[in-house]
Subunit: 273 residues, 2 copies
């Protein structure tokens, strides 16, 4: 009797999506994983829709060519701006972090008022606001462009980071007060932000629950995969392969911070950029 072993392609502009991979590995260690970090062209968050769509399509096409039979867009910016384009071009199912983040917000919120923080491109796309609206929620959004560079500088527990987070959160909470919103959920709309969770929780008002879409995305991916299974699943641990478009050495050192375990078997790929 044949067994089924999923080959899951996880895509991010860089390292942040490794937090989604980490959550997937905990829940479904027996799948094979292909992770692509488009590190030569990061960050996506400061760029235009046209450029992000072009980059995301070439990246996901690469994962499909490598045999992925399920795609997780673990990058909020790519999910916000290129999800429809990726889904239209993909012969395999695609899951993005925005829809799963909004689903989780709906399950968690009592007031129906949600706060979202993310990169400039994610926030300017209003993809979270649209996904929240579809679920009967009202979202207030705020771009926080300095948080990714602070994480990449390694200033995770640092007075400057706490101050920058406080400034951004004060602006967002002030905006909520002015618009008579009563938020009880804050969505971390960027996969770098979970690394700043202590600073964000300290700056967030009491009673605001901080949600990270990595866990929600991993749970939803596993649910969809299980419902699509046509044969018993393999029980032996799967393989992990990593692909990066820039320096392998940097991917290895910075990636371990996000995956919380060593990153090995990395291949440098050229997507023509």
């Amino acid at each position: 009797m044949s067994v089924q072993r999923w080959k899951i392609g996880v895509f991010d502009s860089g390292f942040g999506g490794l937090t989604v991979l980490r959550a997937l590995l905990r829940r479904l260690p027996e799948a094979d994983y292909l992770y692509l970090g488009d590190t030569a062209r990061l960050p996506y968050g400061s760029k235009s829709r046209e450029t992000i769509v072009r980059y995301a399509l070439s990246s996901t096409r690469f994962l499909i060519d490598q045999g992925a039979d399920f795609l997780v867009i673990a990058c909020n910016t790519a999910s916000a701006l290129a999800f429809d384009a990726i889904r239209a071009a993909s012969p395999v199912p695609v899951l993005g972090v925005i829809e799963t983040g909004a689903d989780e917000a709906r399950r968690s919120s009592r007031t129906g008022d949600i706060l979202v923080i993310g990169t400039a491109a994610t926030i300017e796309s209003h993809a979270y606001a649209a996904a929240c609206r579809e679920r009967g929620l009202r979202a207030l959004e705020k771009a926080c462009p300095l948080l990714v560079p602070l994480v990449e500088e390694g200033w995770l527990d640092h007075p400057v980071t706490r101050e920058v987070v406080r400034i951004y959160m004060d602006e967002l909470l002030g905006q909520a007060r002015q618009s008579d919103s009563h938020p009880d959920v804050l969505v971390l709309g960027c996969t770098h932000y979970p690394l700043l969770r202590p600073a964000i929780e300290a700056a967030a008002a009491a009673g605001l629950r901080v949600l990270d879409s990595a866990e929600a995305t991993a749970a939803e991916a596993v649910r969809r995969l299980k419902s699509a299974e046509s044969a018993p699943r393999s029980v032996t641990p799967g393989q992990r392969r990593f692909f990066a478009t820039d320096s392998i050495a940097k991917f290895q050192s910075l990636g371990a911070r996000f995956l919380e375990s060593p990153v090995e078997d990395i291949v440098l790929v050229d997507l023509g950029g």
Copy 2:
């Protein structure tokens, strides 16, 4: 009698090189200028040598195809990591900001001890240290990865920016004391940093002269062009054309901050990234 009108190609990964263009326009308004900002692939400063060389070569090739007869590499990171590759591939003369910055440091320093701040890639290349050594100077270098994002966030005169600059400068000055160095010149090894000059001057020790290589590069370019002239120069004002690889709207708004005048006639180009 024919007249000579130079067509000068100015290249940067983004907007910072517009400070060099501004200095050129003041000194040589009668030349034609082609400015390329490789905004779809910025920042270069966090990437590997191989990737930076590939991006810089395709960018400068574009300017040569557009008819540039003199190239200014107005990006410290590209000058640090790709200058030899660009010069080898270019049929026209090429000037980079590192050599002109080091020349200016030699003219300005009495002690022979120089401090340099720049992006991670520029500093890790030790291109400034090598250029200083060739000129009989000793350089201490420090990467300051948060300064570009702070400029792009527009926090030019902001307490967080002053604090980040103070932290970086304290580390660099501490390093100088430990190595018995007596620096009297600080080179701004990134074209974004002149926008932070007040914060940098406040954090620098008294007696440290802050040098910006934009002015030195423009002066050297004009000197070389004049010495190469074979016919009287045109005296009517030249044309300016701008090329960007990402959003024209963003180039227009952020570019004006660096050029200190409106940025018009921008063409979106695809370098295959």
